[in-house]
Chain length 714, copies 2
Amino acid sequence: MKIKWIAFLLMAACNLTVTAQKPLTLEELLGGGKNYWQIQPENKYTTWWGETALETTPEEVKELVSGKTLVTVEQINEWVGKKVARNGHNLIFPYPEKSLVLVNSPQERMLVDFEQKKVEWKQSIPQQAQHQDWNAESRHLAYTVLGNLYVQTSEDKTLQISKDGSTDGTDNIVYGRSVHRDEFGIRKGIFWSPDGKKLAFYRMDQSMVPSYPQVDITSRISTTYTDHYPMAGETSHQVKVGIYDVEQEKTVWVELVGGPEDYHTNLSWAPDGKTLYIFELNRAQNDMRLVAYDTETGKFMKQLLQETSQKYVEPQHGLDFLPWDETKAIMQTQRDGYNHLYVLDVNTGNLTQLTKGNWVVQELVGFNQKQKSVLYMSNESDPRQKCLYSIVVKSGKKTALSVMDGVHSASPNYLGTAVIDRYSSPTVPRNIDLISTAKGKSQNILTAADSWVANGFNIPEITSGSIKAADGTTDLYYRMVKPIGFDPNKKYPTVVYVYGGPHAHNVQASWHWGLRGWEAYMAQKGYLLFILDNRGSEWRGLEFEQATWHQLGQVEMQDQMQGVAYLKSLPYVDAGRLGVHGWSFGGFMTTSLICNYPDVFKVGVAGGPVIDWKYYEVMYGERYMGTPQNNPEGYAKTSLLNKAGNLKGRLQVIHGYNDPTCVPQHALSFIRACADAGTQPDLFFYPGAGHNMSGRDQIHLHERITRYFEDFLK
Amino acid sequence: MKIKWIAFLLMAACNLTVTAQKPLTLEELLGGGKNYWQIQPENKYTTWWGETALETTPEEVKELVSGKTLVTVEQINEWVGKKVARNGHNLIFPYPEKSLVLVNSPQERMLVDFEQKKVEWKQSIPQQAQHQDWNAESRHLAYTVLGNLYVQTSEDKTLQISKDGSTDGTDNIVYGRSVHRDEFGIRKGIFWSPDGKKLAFYRMDQSMVPSYPQVDITSRISTTYTDHYPMAGETSHQVKVGIYDVEQEKTVWVELVGGPEDYHTNLSWAPDGKTLYIFELNRAQNDMRLVAYDTETGKFMKQLLQETSQKYVEPQHGLDFLPWDETKAIMQTQRDGYNHLYVLDVNTGNLTQLTKGNWVVQELVGFNQKQKSVLYMSNESDPRQKCLYSIVVKSGKKTALSVMDGVHSASPNYLGTAVIDRYSSPTVPRNIDLISTAKGKSQNILTAADSWVANGFNIPEITSGSIKAADGTTDLYYRMVKPIGFDPNKKYPTVVYVYGGPHAHNVQASWHWGLRGWEAYMAQKGYLLFILDNRGSEWRGLEFEQATWHQLGQVEMQDQMQGVAYLKSLPYVDAGRLGVHGWSFGGFMTTSLICNYPDVFKVGVAGGPVIDWKYYEVMYGERYMGTPQNNPEGYAKTSLLNKAGNLKGRLQVIHGYNDPTCVPQHALSFIRACADAGTQPDLFFYPGAGHNMSGRDQIHLHERITRYFEDFLK
């Protein structure tokens, strides 16, 4: 077992001249807490204007390095003649070479010239406009109202793209919104061409998808509202792609190839606006094609490439064209087993691998146009890290740009010549550097003090290390949080916190190793916490991720039990007092673990759990589980309805009563199955809440979770 | 304090030569239990043929006294030539002077002559026929299919009474079913005239009543089914009464007087079939009129009498005409403060009081036609009893007919000359006597042995007594169950079980003082149980009942706190470990008590609770609470949404997830209010269950309730 970093935060705290150590309360530890924001590490808010890095404050925008004021909120409002700007953080500088600031009020959008001190241009914003997408080139605004799609032109003319009708623009057929339930990297339904003169958009027909009846208890007599929810193996929605020409006020429909329930993902415009690329995937999700369509006619041009798999192919990124070569784009794929960058020649379909190794590219940050390099984040230094690199496209010359190990995020300027780089590391809560991406030279902007130490809080010891997975070879990383006042000669009740599902990880080299506030709270109450990223989680490559295919939870449990074996090997872990807690996929894992290992786990709290994958949605569910029809054994094996009778310990299931992601049918079916089997889980609902609790409910929820362990594990 | 009876059942058990004492399990104690029926006291099933008392068994029917076989199931099937009769318990002898037995199979109804040994008559039963009501005189059958009403004539012809249409006979407009949500003594919607040639029926238009969305989680994707649920102060349904003439195949509609939302209750046919009497009540429930209608024309004939009240008038019984005088009927009313029998002259409207006293008539059993007396049950001997009396109409001469004190039920023969009288008393689990109602002579049929004692079960000491209500004068009766192995020098955790609502009582002089099985279970686990019938409950007269008017729960709580004061005066009650549990109105009381007296009750389990009366139905709700519009203070004061922040102890709310009586909006609104107020109740739902748990869910539920007290009160 290797332990690379150990964050003796408790010792660090002791070294300071802080005498009385205060307990951290949930009000401090959680986002919904009253004191949460007060004790966050110091921060600076930043943005770019051309190559000038800026700092924003509620009152003004100034140059980040010199501190010289660029423009103030008060000035803008004075020049405009009314109060349109409210907060410096919301100001945007869209044009590198123009002294224009974009100001949005609920009623209008305007460009204010802060050198000429006057309004250069403005546009009204229609009432109820949602999903606003403004193109800086054309200054057209696209937006939706309910199921309809509109454009407000730069000349302030309103154009309706969707037809009004008995079906179009209703809840049954919606325009301009995200489709396929936000899977495959899809986050929106409006895609402007580079010049902002054409608009690609989604049209989703979900009239054939049954509505899940969500109950609103706040009406005088409860009412239901419907949410078209396609469940695994059942009829799915059907998506089309339209291209609207603003000048001609005309839509052409893309003549999509493939089946009616195929996924049309990661729409990407060619730089010249003549071609639209779509990563198309069959419903079975094992056959992906990158297809080019003519944006004038909507007609099929060619298929550039195809990826198939025995398990699944999952497109998640569009094409990012090289700013200096319109014939080439960066494409991300896991085809060699790890997510890497490739250069795609869109004329030939040739793909040239740019990055390579047993690690993953986590993010394409941008391009240094001068150096003709790509800026990206990867974890090549350590699976738990996310650091910035540049790679010159032609030569493949790679440069590590991050000053320090940790988990970084970077915002480049428009040329990519510099980035504002933010990170935290196990001992550094926040750091901001300004980095030149060509030279790698950096200038420190902020290194925040440890605000927990400074506030004199009682901070647990948090460490990270690795153990072997159940396959005997794969390294799995964990975080361990020791109880406050830890004494290695005592035995502590121990709680495994788990997520374990795809596209997520819990252990990373950020502040406190990614500690969740509740873990510190529990450590104060005398618990040891253990968090392990099992196979199936992200940042570790395709084989690691796909080990769970068609039997979600099975391999994950085996790995978590390796964690339990490790815990049992520690003299200070009380193996008779093991608990488990998780939310969503972690709720599924929690329920799976306590029902499959009833003699190991004494107490569990499962939040928003999947109980049977047949109640989960088509897109995510079928990728990992196939359908109930073609993988009946997998569904049967993983269904917790079939395990309800095994429950021995205490399990509380907590669910948002209006959860649109993991519908309440999961929790309700489980407690019905338990009642039928004669076992006794506990249950709680948060009426009005969705898949996660927000605001004050977070505090209530974590009081509740804590109380359950205090009642039955202590 | 008076303690009239003390049932030293424990001592009784010790006196037997039973050595090892077995614990009673929930499987023995509850109706859904596997062994429940096995350990019930011995029983005999009885019925009448004319003046001959009969005993039925699964195989045959025999004379009760002589034991001589009248007819066997096998004989009937042999004579019919197929297996139509399945169980002797289901055989009926409708004609005192004919040797005919009525046999019902799912497909047909037949009269078999058991002297002639042949089928005398038969009629087919249409598929899906519900609410079947067969008239022995005409042999016509009335029934419903979904919202429609039909008659199957004695000649086996099918007649449809409701019209088919877009509204009639649908869920919106239903025929022939019970209306006004079964309040006001209404249990059905079909009323044959005495000669069976005309049929009075209800037609309910509930299209204007919002539907409560009940969720069925057993479908592939959850679905809702609707239940038109009129909430207090909101729009109610509208009821009409039709009279169908079978010979003429024609309906006349009764030209009801009063408002469209009035209640039309207790339909009563005159013996000659020419008049229909309806007890009509305004929606405010403070103005009742007894109205006569012409059954030929449907026209209003006259108003016989009117009762009004500052609080409410609640008709619950129809007219029972004297068999020997068609101009007079027995009417029950609480107009003198107690429910008593009156003789109504239907020609003059004159009302002559027949029974009188500070006690209530609990049931009109029948008439002794020879003696011209009325047979009734009352609690004139003790408020906790129900005993049989006869009173001669002319002379008022009263005779007590019950052989023993206790809680009786009686089934008279057609002339009322004798009854089969069943009772239990605190020490007698079941007794059956055959009693001559003229002479009072009785013959013992069965005195069952104590099956708990005989089985060697560990039985707690159960006593009953009285304390003063919070008004300082009214006697309230309680039942106390002491823990098994009771030691007066120890201190015991104590659970108050409560219902407390109108039309119910918990303490009565039946076996074990009305002990509920769960109480014995808890006594075995070392708890003391205390059950008190507060003001507002039944059998005690109008003032007692109406003390709670417009502020349900308030006076009830005051009385329950008198019970708590009494408990605290007992050296063996641990006042620091008081719990409370109840269901329905008792769930409301439980939640009210723990939220209003957070320092008194440490643990509560509230089943199917009313949380705010605005979510309860119009009929029951407005009788006791008025409307949210006209009694806002009462609604505010009693709403537990306003008390959610007071919760300190442990409260588990348990609700049938498909409860059509007290809809889930109650429990869900309460937990939402608690989450908002920062308090932490617990919750459980039984998906698919209604207002009460049935079958195996009963076992699961009571394990659950018990565990909660074991977790937090022990």
